[in-house]
Amino acid sequence: MLLLIQYTLIFASVLLLVALGGCFSEHSGVINIGLEGIMVFGALGGALMMKYLPADAPAAVIILLSIGAAMLVGIIYSLLLAVAAINFKADQTLVGTAMNLLGVAAATVFVKAINTAENPNNVSSTIQYINAKKAFLVNIGGFEFNWFMALAVALLLLSWVLLYKTRFGLRLQACGEHPQAADSVGINVYKMRYAGVMLSGLLGGVGGLVYITAGVSEWKFENGVAGFGFLALAVMIFGQWKPFRIALAALLFGLFRALSNVYTGFDFLASLNLPSTVYNMLPYIISLIVLALTSQKSAAPKAEGIPYDKGSR
């Protein structure tokens, strides 16, 4: 049971962080389908930092530097979307999809190149970080507390304050609802949209790092992040683009994802004798059902997905 809670919380943290990222981007008016690719790159940045930091570095240094690396790489990668969608008015769905494919392909090429350079016989795309990962874990009576859970909660509160209680957040939302009106009162729509996309890069990058450290201590970058970026988008829609509702939705989805890791530990679930693939599919099936039930009255930002053109009415 403790294990289920632990996995639920860690997967919910991933979904919460990435969904908040999507939330910032969409409130500024840019649909970020590329979250999956951003997660891969954030994970890559964090994993490399953990790999190259000396093993005897203090835990706090490891935590701060790897989170920082994931955030930074996530932001840089998200600029690919920002430039294409904001300056060049590209199709946001197409660019996002390309970023997802590019994320996995580029990370694989990069990691394989590093591995082969270290050892010519090693052609895998796996990075190991067993020792560094221990820095994130604090054992409290059998429950493995992960600093990422605290980080997720902190960023949730911070996001809520930023989105609803600051001038910046309100302006950001104005750009997603009615950019022309925002522009007419002197808000620079392009700058705000850049800010929204870069915030989603920051949060998506950390989310990726949390995901690859969630259950394992090495990651094969060929596999990407298994659709988690899209699950996060479903969480965001289910949460109606509002941070606290997103947090609740993330807990629900996290629970179903965690079940596939630990269902064998529950007698009544094990006695059902369902094949493990059913549990693997569960988060995706639940999200389809949830989306079908909740998408009818959507609170999506009105101008999302539409490139802002100063000249148009």
Binding site: L94, L291, S298
Partner: protein, 371 residues
């Protein structure tokens, strides 16, 4: 003469072609830079190996044989790209081609290996499986307002896990792959109709290759010459206007996704009913074919005939990735190049606008000079 060249540049078809070529060129240059960063010594050799693909072999009969291998995988890729572009013409982004392809593969192989059906029954089963999956996304979109991109991604994973467990009973006892088609049920292999003779007896080149081209032409006819195609495109442009004009916009959306799904499913049949590859029941990621279909669709300027050439090109460099020096680089570099090309396709609209505005400015300058 000068005037004729200018009007040629103004032709949208020519502009699209030029933009696509620019995307390819930039994609290759960026790929080359990536190779240089990894290891400058072999970069030029690697990029030429990718572009050469089957020309890496010296003898003509070997070249033909490996050209055949590229074509075997071009046919399914063309189907996936037609699936994506057909949906896109109706305003839907069918990222689910990958999952529909998986469903088609599952149906084709199950009918072939477990039920021992002849190839055409397997093919129809694959089309139907893909179409059903497409229908689900279409219905969710039109009745529940679910964004098709998200529902498609969820269905991709659901399809993958379902097919893995569906095909588990017909897998080889000693490996994670499904049993060989030729040994278990030769009836299920698509007929070659003598096409293999053209490719130095490459027995994987079958009816699938000409069939794929015929279907590309049929899709072009359907989209641009029929009432149904007109209605579908009108629905894509503005579904409220289409409804006002008396079209059944909900049915149209579902029908579109069904056709798109059927195309991707057929693609899977063209792949797995040749016996060229087996399905691995332990695979944990959705096959790249459907996603490469997105690349091919956009690179081909969203035109069915363009898709024939772009599918061949994407498959050509994907296969070419297998010829890079493995001691220095990984074959994934070609995935990197093709995903870079998709990203650059996002800028096509900008390229075209840039070209048009330059032409307009030049005209204006010339007019000013005459007065």
């Amino acid at each position: 003469m000068e005037k004729k060249r200018a009007s040629l540049l103004r032709n949208p078809g020519v502009q699209t072609l030029l933009s696509s070529l620019l995307c390819i060129l930039l994609g290759l240059v960026i790929g080359y830079i990536a190779l240089l960063i990894i290891n400058p010594a072999g970069a030029w050799g690697a990029i030429t190996a990718i572009v050469k693909n089957f020309w890496n072999y010296g003898r003509t009969n070997l070249q033909l044989r490996y050209l055949g291998n590229t074509l075997v995988k071009t046919a399914p890729l063309l189907m996936c790209s037609l699936s994506v572009l057909f949906a896109y013409k109706v305003g839907l982004f069918n990222i689910g081609a990958a999952g529909q392809y998986v469903a088609g593969a599952g149906a084709a192989l199950y009918f072939a290996l477990a039920l021992k059906m002849p190839w055409w029954v397997c093919m129809i089963a694959a089309i139907l499986a893909g179409a059903v999956l497409g229908c689900i996304s279409g219905a969710l979109k039109s009745f529940c307002n679910v964004n098709e991109v998200i529902s498609c991604i969820m269905l991709n994973w659901i399809a993958l896990y379902t097919v893995n467990s569906l095909l588990n009973p017909v897998k080889n006892p000693t490996s994670p792959y499904t049993m060989g088609l030729t040994s278990v049920n030769p009836e299920a292999v698509m007929p070659s109709l003598g096409i293999e003779k053209l490719f130095t007896n490459n027995r994987y080149t079958t009816l699938a290759i000409p069939l794929a081209i015929v279907i590309a032409v049929l899709i072009w006819v359907l989209l641009s010459k029929t009432k149904l195609g007109y209605e579908l495109k009108a629905t894509g442009l503005n579904k409220h206007a289409a409804k006002y004009a008396g079209m059944r916009e909900k049915t149209n959306i579902i029908l579109t996704m069904a056709i798109a799904g059927g195309l991707a499913g057929l693609g899977a049949a063209m792949m797995y009913l040749t016996g060229f590859e087996e399905w691995s029941v332990t695979q944990s990621s959705v096959p790249a074919m459907g996603f490469n279909g997105i690349a091919a669709a956009f690179l081909g300027g969203l035109h069915p005939i363009g898709a024939i050439f772009s599918s061949f090109f994407i498959q050509h460099i994907t296969n070419g990735g297998g010829y890079v020096d493995m001691t220095m680089y990984s074959s994934d570099i070609s995935d990197f190049i093709s995903s870079m090309i998709i990203y650059l396709c996002g800028f096509v609209l900008f390229f075209r606008q840039f070209m048009s505005s330059r032409l307009a400015r030049r005209d204006e300058a010339r007019k000013g000079g005459k007065q």
